[in-house]
């Protein structure tokens, strides 16, 4: 692990934890099936700008930075071989990525929404850029995140709200028509996530708190404040519920009883989820919470790069 730089993003794919650092390095940690066997690979990927988002499919990793979207073949990752695929130079600097069944969507304030066809991830290709109409009024759009679901792309825009964009396909089966169909007003949305199985959209707003929205009608169903009025910054779907990163902790929103519970009562840098695991950073260390019916097991990766069993915390959801 990189001890000098600062972790800015975590992502897990097929038992490999990808760690993005502020200096542009990306480290890969092979996760064990049991917590006493952890391999940390040397930094295999390096970009000239910090990578802020990863998405992977069919052993191809897509990542974006303020330089470009890039992709890597992970087929031989265990032999420490990661091939760099070339994506079209038309794909510009990019700060957010999201994928649906066929498309990878990236956002940059210069080119708007960039679409890449990933039907065959090894032969993915650039389709088009789309500048949202709202950019004509607001200039460089401060998009805090993207999401995509069922033919809709959602953008959360700071100091504006959420814009829903619908797309269609042409007879070559390429995405062609993008059209802004609605705006959902929020004061200052920080993140957005759709529920994978329900017609629900979740938004975090720095002033209005956690909002639950019907993703079809665009109606805001309810708003909840975070515990101690914490500032919400980041969302993830986890086992059908929602995890919320606030400025001062990590929270779990139970969809059934519509309640937000504290999960990690200390400052969290970034976090991600994989199966029943939650990975989060605190003071430069990566910690893991394992979801269980009885307890969550917490493991810390220490500065000497060797994992040590740190503690077992009884953190029941």
């Amino acid at each position: 692990m990189n001890e000098d730089s600062i972790i800015v993003f975590l992502y897990v794919y097929k038992f490999h934890l990808f760690v993005s650092y502020l200096n542009g390095e990306i480290s890969i940690i092979q996760l064990p099936y049991s917590p006493d066997k952890i391999s940390i690979f040397p930094s295999l990927i390096r970009t000239s700008n910090v990578a802020t988002e990863f998405q992977a499919r069919s052993d191809v990793l897509f990542a974006c930075s303020s330089e470009r979207i890039f992709s890597h073949d992970l087929t031989n990752i265990n032999q420490l071989i990661i091939e760099d695929f070339h994506l079209s130079n038309e794909v510009p600097e990019c700060s957010q990525l999201v994928m649906d069944e066929k498309n990878l969507f990236g956002f940059s304030s210069k080119k708007g929404i960039s679409t890449i066809n990933i039907n065959n991830p090894r032969n993915s290709y650039f389709v088009k850029n789309y500048i949202p109409k709202i950019a004509e009024r607001l200039g460089d759009l401060p998009v805090s995140n993207l999401d995509a679901k069922k033919g809709d792309v959602f953008m959360s825009i700071r100091n504006f709200g959420i814009t829903k964009i619908k797309y269609k396909y042409n007879h070559f089966n390429d995405l062609e028509v993008l059209n802004e169909i609605s705006n959902i007003r929020l004061e200052d949305p920080q993140d957005i996530k759709s529920h994978p199985k329900k017609d629900l959209l979740f938004a975090l707003d720095s002033e209005e708190g956690f909002a639950i929205i019907n993703s079809v009608s665009d109606k805001i169903l309810s708003k909840l404040k975070l515990p101690e009025n914490d500032l919400g910054q980041e969302l993830r779907v986890f086992r059908g519920d929602i995890l919320i990163k606030g400025k001062f902790g990590l929270y779990h929103f139970n969809l059934i009883n519509q309640t937000i519970y504290p999960l990690v009562k200390k400052k969290v840098g970034t976090f991600t989820t994989y199966l029943d695991l939650i990975f989060y950073t605190n003071e430069g260390k990566i910690n893991i919470l394992k979801y269980g019916s009885v307890a969550h097991t917490e493991i810390s990766y220490y500065e000497n790069n060797l994992p040590k069993f740190n503690s077992i915390a009884s953190l029941n959801f």
Binding site: N49, E93, K267
Partner: protein
Amino acid sequence: MPDIPYNRPGRRRQYLSITKHFFNAVNSYSKWVNVNIDRNTFDYADYGGHTLSPHAVAWIDDAGNLWGFMPNFTVVGTQKEQFGFFPKTINETDEWHGYPVFPFITKRYNISESLIKRWISERYLDVDDIPSLVNKKKI
């Protein structure tokens, strides 16, 4: 309304508040909440701290641009921006100007790692704030 010079006796860097970044300008440029916030943010950037100590180094990035923010990251821009960006002048004697930005919104507004680490070492930020900063969240 004309641009407003900000006379800064004893300081090498002089400043000009630009009309197009005023809160009441009708355009798509980013705008300061008010002129005092504009000036204060530049002062903090130029002095390299909120105490305005004459001995500190300016908050300058690797490209020579200045960055500033208010105590407690109070909003400085009408779009709820928390940072001011002051691009490096062409000539050393030129007046500086600046505007509110969301850091990392484009490559031009990436804050260099060295400046971020300085803010961490001086306890304006901690490492757990950085992912939110890089990902355009409110901090």
